[in-house]
């Protein structure tokens, strides 16, 4: 009898110790809360869009749609966090730049083109290159000049949106070509939002890269102890630099989704405050914000949990300018729970309870 209990307790603590436990637990709490408050939250209906194509709609689809942007960003942000022990706060501004580049390449100098100048693919590649260049800029500041990541990326955070506006001469290009809207909306005939598929592609590529290269291992090694990783023949400067360039790539993908949503751009508000959500996704995934070990799956799940929270708050008519306050509460809980002193206390309490049960 006592033995099985002990085993159960052991099993439970094993689950709790799993990193994925944190985002899954958060997801479950949110899901149960919604189930009790209003089960219609989980209703998904099949409808048709104004162009007559089938689309799924419902809160869960909305979460899938917007959460996917965050998930893509979370991939890059996790690597940056793990390698450099800091976060990139310029992703929102960088998305504005990437989006601006896409529109610039597609429209040329004419802000209201009848026809696109080139294919979207070419524009996207251009945006990737530019975004990776800006990622490289951040990377050099952090890796080579050893500037704190938040301080280094503050430069682009401040200047990015002006650069984005400058790329298009302060014009606000609008694309009338309907196919351009597919990336942030729906592909005709497929009822699931396209951003989800884009996110899946990104996740699969990331999973393959992490499995078949040493990127994950090296990144963690650099994050845990830079000196010893250098002694083991790694180049910490390059690994950190690389993580920022990869984040640049993620930024370009999100930039494409964002400008595709409305087929236009607004430099000052596009992807506003998205950096906070991306960082929160990494934190919610149970990754140490001070770098080192990371769990990519937990971060990606964390991104969807953040969007789950946002959508839930919208559903309950929480004033949208109060949303950051609610997210702040989540951050406080996470940070406090992950503080070493609190962890030690908790495990003590756990041990005491356990001891009592066994006795």
């Amino acid at each position: 009898m006592g033995n099985t209990k002990k085993k159960e307790a052991g099993f439970l603590s094993k689950i709790v110790r799993q990193q994925l436990f944190i985002p899954i637990a958060a997801l479950l709490i949110l899901a149960v809360f919604n189930l009790i408050a209003d089960p219609s939250f989980f209703k998904i209906t099949m409808g048709a869009s104004s162009t007559g194509d089938p689309v799924l709609s419902g809160y869960l689809i909305t979460i899938l749609d917007y959460g996917s942007e965050l998930a893509i960003l979370a991939i890059g942000m996790t690597l940056v966090t793990a390698a450099s022990g800091g976060q990139d706060i310029s992703v929102g501004a960088a998305i504005a730049i990437a989006g601006s580049v896409i529109l610039r390449v597609l429209c040329g100098t004419n802000s209201r083109p009848e026809e696109l100048q080139t294919s979207v693919f070419v524009a996207f590649i251009a945006a990737c290159l530019v975004a990776m260049l800006f990622g490289a800029f951040n990377g050099i500041l952090v890796a080579h000049f050893k500037i704190q990541p938040m301080v280094a990326t503050l430069i682009l955070y401040t200047a990015g949106r002006s650069i984005a506006a400058w790329i298009n001469n302060n014009e606000l290009p609008i694309i009338s070509e309907p196919t351009f809207g597919y990336y942030g909306g729906f592909i005709p005939g497929i009822p699931i939002p396209t951003p989800f598929f884009i996110a899946v592609i990104c996740v699969v590529i990331t999973a393959l890269v992490l499995k078949f290269t040493n990127l994950g291992l090296y990144t963690q090694a650099v994050g845990i102890n830079e000196k010893s990783s250098r002694l083991n023949g790694l180049n910490p400067v390059f690994i950190k630099f690389l993580s920022f360039v990869i984040l640049g790539l993620c930024v370009a993908v999100v930039g494409l989704i964002k400008v595709s949503r409305f087929s236009t751009i607004n430099y000052s508000v596009i992807a506003k405050d998205i950096e906070m959500d991306a960082i929160l996704a990494v934190a919610l995934g149970g990754n140490a914000l001070s770098g080192g070990k990371f769990n990519m799956a937990a971060s990606i799940l964390g991104a969807y949990v953040i969007q789950f929270l946002t959508t839930t708050l919208y559903k309950f008519d929480v004033q949208s300018d109060a949303l950051p306050a609610y997210k702040a509460v989540v951050v406080i809980i996470l940070v406090v729970l992950s503080a070493p002193s609190v962890r030690a206390k908790l495990s003590q309490v756990g041990k005491k309870l356990h001891a009592k049960e066994v006795a």
Binding site: S40, G47, A48, S49, S50, T51, V55, S57, G58, Y59, T62, Y66, R112, H144, F145, K146, I147, I155, A159, R161, S162, A165, N170, L172, I174, G185, F186, K258, R261, F262, T264, N266, Y267, S268, V269, I270, A271, K272, T310, T311, Y314, K315, D317, Q319, S320, D321
Partner: protein
């Protein structure tokens, strides 16, 4: 250690470079030797032209008016931050401009710098935004009447004689003059009429993405609505994107009435195409008003009134013409 020094130097040069650029941009035409050439020296302090389409149009309009050909020697300074604007104002006063044109980022904190201006004989004209300062400190103030913009839109909506008006109200950044004016009129009407209801009232902070999420949330919830009152065009666009996804028809003679503000050119085109119903103007073309005032002051005339309210229109989708789109679109 070497690296650290190198980094420090690089950062320093960059910072210096950036500020140098900024200052240059701020005062590049403010050359002092022009003072004898008969040009009227004006210092223009505006918000960042990237802030919105409104501001871009506003800046273009000012730049087109205050040229050498028109007898002006103009210097421009841009910032969304009040303290930076105040610093720029002090600089303009030191440079000895004749007129200081000001669109203040914030209403507070301008007293002392405007007193300085008065002592130095610099005349101040406010445009677009008012400030909390004694009105003896400035010559004139050219503003939009946001309350009137809202009232016009609400009046238009009332004329549509709907049996029931269920509004999704998308507000701008809370506390801004545009938000207060445009919200105020609708709030009053909803409180006064029994068949006017607010389905949801949320700030989307001028942001299309947020507006889309808010409207999406209402659609997902299954609430009924037949009017979207968005306090700028971007938010109306976001709302329409959500409607399109859910196959809810909108526009002239359709299920949902779309109301936007600011008269962006693309928005007026949507109006012309019948996808939206109403767009209220927020007039960014203040330069001609300012020019007139300066001419009067230079001629020694007295201004009849201190606050000049610009004329602003509201466009109905059924009446708008191509001319309107081209003339009033920003």
């Amino acid at each position: 250690m070497k690296k650290k020094i190198l980094a420090a130097i690089l950062v320093l040069t960059m910072v210096v470079g950036l500020t140098a650029c900024g200052k240059k941009a701020a005062t590049d035409t403010g050359a002092k030797d022009d003072s004898g050439s008969g040009l009227i020296k004006v210092g223009i302090i505006n918000n960042d032209p990237n802030e919105s389409g409104y501001r871009t149009a506003n800046d273009k309009d000012l730049k087109a008016m205050f040229t050498k050909e028109n007898g002006y020697d103009a210097s421009f300074a841009y910032s969304l931050k009040n303290d930076e604007q105040i610093t720029a104002a002090q600089k303009f006063i030191q440079d000895g401009v004749d007129y200081l044109l000001l669109s203040a980022a914030d209403t507070a904190g301008w007293d002392s710098v405007l007193k300085d201006a008065q002592e130095q004989g610099v005349r101040v004209i406010l445009f677009d935004r008012t400030i909390d300062a004694d009105d003896s400190l400035y010559e004139a103030s050219i503003v939009s009447d946001m309350d009137k913009e809202g009232a016009q839109a609400v009046e238009w909506l009332a004329k549509q004689e709907l049996d029931e008006v269920n509004v999704i109200h998308l507000q701008g950044v809370m506390g801004t003059a545009a938000q207060k004016g445009r919200s105020g009129a609708l709030d009053e009407k909803v409180a006064a009429e029994d068949n006017w209801n607010i389905v949801t009232q949320q700030t989307a902070e001028w942001n299309a993405e947020k507006a889309q999420q808010i409207v999406q949330s209402v659609i997902d919830k299954g609430d009924k609505f037949n009017v979207i009152y968005a306090e700028n065009d971007d938010m109306a666009k976001g709302a329409v994107a959500a409607l399109d996804k859910a196959n809810i028809s909108h526009g002239v003679g359709k299920d949902v009435i779309i109301i936007g503000f600011d008269c962006n050119k693309w928005a007026l085109e949507e109006l012309k195409a019948g996808n939206w119903n109403y767009d209220g103007q927020c007039n960014p073309f203040q330069a001609s008003y300012i020019d007139e005032i300066i001419k009067k002051l230079e001629a020694g005339e007295k201004l009849s009134e201190k606050v000049v309210v610009m004329e602003e229109k509201g466009f109905d989708a059924t009446e708008i013409t191509d001319d309107d789109v081209n003339t009033y679109g920003i």
